[in-house]
């Protein structure tokens, strides 16, 4: 059952990814604008331009270019960056860990804050506190991560400078790492000095990304919890002598989480999309920041690679959530 579901999802995922690649490919090439001209120093001749066009394959038809590119991709070759003359795949994979760590940290923060607010709101339902939580999460939801990032920079970078608001890590510490998963590595190697430096850099951008998601989680989960609290098994549990906290956490929460989960999955892909501008805002050396540089430099192969990678990330997250739902839901697990 789960396997069949997985396979059919994989098939649609593949179609989606192909669609993404076609659209990116066509967008970049159909619309006027000459990336080659921008690469060359002033005073380059027509012949120079033609030579470069041939080198990057821009002299062929779009169809041809696409299939050449696709064939390369199948073999693990995403082309070469125009700007840095390095393989796109290597560049992109070097930056991916930074973005992944930031997104996952943001997700954790969002789940902790959102979950806490939902549980508190349910525990204190009908009180002023619940009203305050509703209003706060409504506000938090209406304002996107970009603005929260700026507000955080003002509050905790300028007004009360307790966090770093620029970069991923203090520059002199970069050489301490052997992988690009800095945060993960610092934990595994028990280097908490590095960990602290990393977190003090990452916390602000991660929080900015997390605030809207935390608000969504808080609203959805609280709604779902309140519906669950009326159900008979919750009442039965009360008659057994259990208190409100136990009833909410042990009886209601496991059932309330499931409907929230799918929606949070989609929202998490929005969060990953948000890293593009948040990384820029906090000068965080991740994929998103590289993407904007690539766009400004018209580094077509690199842009393609990054957009595809983001699309892969999105679809993988959706796939993962779908599977998680299937695994967590006892009805599906045993059916």
């Amino acid at each position: 059952m789960i396997l069949r579901r997985l396979l059919s999802r994989l098939a649609t995922t593949l179609v989606t990814l192909l669609g993404v690649s076609v659209i990116v490919f066509v967008t970049i090439r159909v619309v006027p604008g000459n990336p080659i001209a921008m690469m060359l120093p002033p005073g380059a001749t027509e012949a120079d331009i033609d030579r470069l066009r041939a080198l990057y394959g821009f002299d062929r038809s779009i169809m041809e270019q696409y299939f050449i590119w696709l064939w390369g991709v199948v073999q693990g070759d995403f082309g070469t960056s125009i700007q840095s003359r390095q393989p796109v795949l290597r560049l992109v994979l070097n930056r991916l860990p930074a973005t992944l760590e930031l997104s996952i940290m943001a997700l954790v923060i969002a789940v902790v804050i959102g979950g806490f607010l939902a549980l508190t709101g349910t525990r204190l339902r009908g009180t002023r506190t619940e009203g305050a939580i509703d209003v706060t999460s409504g506000m938090a939801l209406s304002v996107p991560d970009f603005l929260w990032g700026l507000v955080l920079i003002l509050l905790f970078g300028v007004l009360w400078p307790v966090f770093h608001i620029s970069g991923r890590i203090s520059p002199q510490l970069t050489s301490e790492f052997t992988t690009n998963f800095f945060l993960f590595e610092s934990v595994v190697r028990l280097r908490f000095d590095l960990w602290r430096d990393l977190v003090s850099h990452m916390f602000m951008p991660a929080l900015a990304l997390a605030i809207p998601l935390a608000a969504i989680i808080s609203q959805l989960l609280k709604q779902s919890l309140k519906e669950t609290m009326h159900l008979d098994y919750v009442t039965l549990s009360r008659t057994k002598g259990y208190g409100e906290n136990h009833v909410i956490i042990r009886e209601a929460l496991p059932n309330a989480v499931l409907p929230t989960l799918t929606l949070v999955g989609v929202q998490f892909t929005f969060l990953i999309g948000g890293t593009v501008i948040i990384e820029r805002l906090f000068s965080y050396e991740g994929l998103g920041n590289m993407a904007i540089d690539a766009v400004i430099n018209r580094d077509l192969p690199l842009i393609q690679g990054i957009v595809i990678l983001f699309a892969v990330l999105f679809t993988v997250v959706n796939l993962f959530v779908d599977m998680l739902y299937a695994v967590l839901n006892p009805r599906l697990r045993h059916a």
């Binding site: 009908g126 159900l231 008979d232 098994y233 009442t235 039965l236 549990s237 009360r238 008659t239 057994k240 002598g241 259990y242 208190g243 136990h246 009886e251 496991p254 059932n255 499931l258 006892p330 009805r331 045993h334």
Partner: protein
């Protein structure tokens, strides 16, 4: 207090609204089976909910005492009250399909009270649960303990819930319309099962139902409610031979007989309704004059 459960003068109101229970007094002796009968909205299940401490938030106790096992529940702090109820009373709920938590295995839902509230060892609780599941005629109890509720039929789930209610040897069980949600074929079995379990364990049973036929089979005595007012309390034998109250008589006449389903379908006459409503109004009037005022 000689009775095991003694409700004295209990009044409930819907916050800012009318009384749901009107100075109800009711005794249940140890080991007795007491039926609570009335139409829907008569407040019969409110009594059960009040005893078990699961009244909705919008309902308020405005006066009265609920003595359970020599303690007035309403005088206890909430946490103490919960533990007292959990240790001495249990509920057999109405709808077995929604009364088991779908994301927890059946076993822990039977044993959790024994372990967490009564402080049993896990292994003992496990053994006890197996024993009781066998007692309610569940085949292969060990497997059922490991399964999830959705893997069991409605009748099986109700058996699990009955086993769970009796597991802690409570002195009092509230059965809130325990057969209403079941198939007719299963209803009879479950009814027999509850009666047999009650007899074997000697538990006092508060049986909430709208079905006088059920009462005649299971209960020793009954209380008839109308509009939150107890209009009649009597032993079942007397009641069916000679109901004291006009409303009771009408109710009895309105109950279909198993022998001839169409014969008894006489709706409660207007006059009887008017009379009993006057009684309710009378009760409210004297209650207000008695000093306590709401609002």
């Amino acid at each position: 207090m000689s009775a095991f459960l003694s409700i004295r003068n209990l009044s409930l109101v819907l916050k800012g609204g009318p009384r749901l229970l009107r100075s109800v007094s009711l005794d249940v002796e140890a080991g007795e089976v007491r039926g609570l009968v009335g139409e829907s909205g008569a407040g019969k299940s409110m009594i059960g909910k009040a005893v078990l401490g699961i009244l909705p938030r919008s309902v308020e106790v405005v006066e009265g005492e609920i003595w359970l096992d020599e303690v007035d529940l309403l005088k206890l702090r909430p946490s103490e009250r919960r533990r007292k109820i959990g240790a001495t009373a249990a509920l057999i709920p109405q709808d077995p399909l929604t009364a088991l938590n779908p994301s927890r295995r059946v076993g822990p839902q039977v044993t959790d009270r024994l372990v967490d509230i009564l402080g049993w060892k896990r292994a003992d609780a496990q053994a006890r649960a197996l024993e009781l599941l066998a007692e309610v005629h569940i085949p292969d109890p060990a497997r059922v303990m490991r399964s999830y509720p959705h893997e069991l039929s409605g009748g099986m789930r109700q058996r699990v819930l009955i086993a769970s209610a009796f597991a802690a040897e409570p002195k009092l069980i509230v059965a809130d319309e325990p057969t209403t949600a079941l198939d007719v074929t299963v209803q009879k079995q479950i009814l027999h099962l509850i009666a047999r379990m009650q007899a074997r364990h000697g538990t006092a049973l508060l049986f909430v139902t709208h079905d006088l036929g059920v009462v005649s089979k299971v209960c020793g005595s009954l209380a008839v409610l109308y509009g939150g007012l107890v209009v009649e309390q009597s032993p079942v034998r007397d009641f069916f031979r000679q109901p004291a109250h006009a409303y009771s008589r009408a109710l009895l006449a309105a109950t279909p007989k198993y022998t001839d389903p169409m014969a008894g379908l006489n709706p409660v006459p207007e006059a009887v309704i008017t009379a009993v409503q006057a009684e309710v109004a009378q009760a409210d009037a004297s209650w207000r004059n008695g000093g306590w005022r709401h609002d």
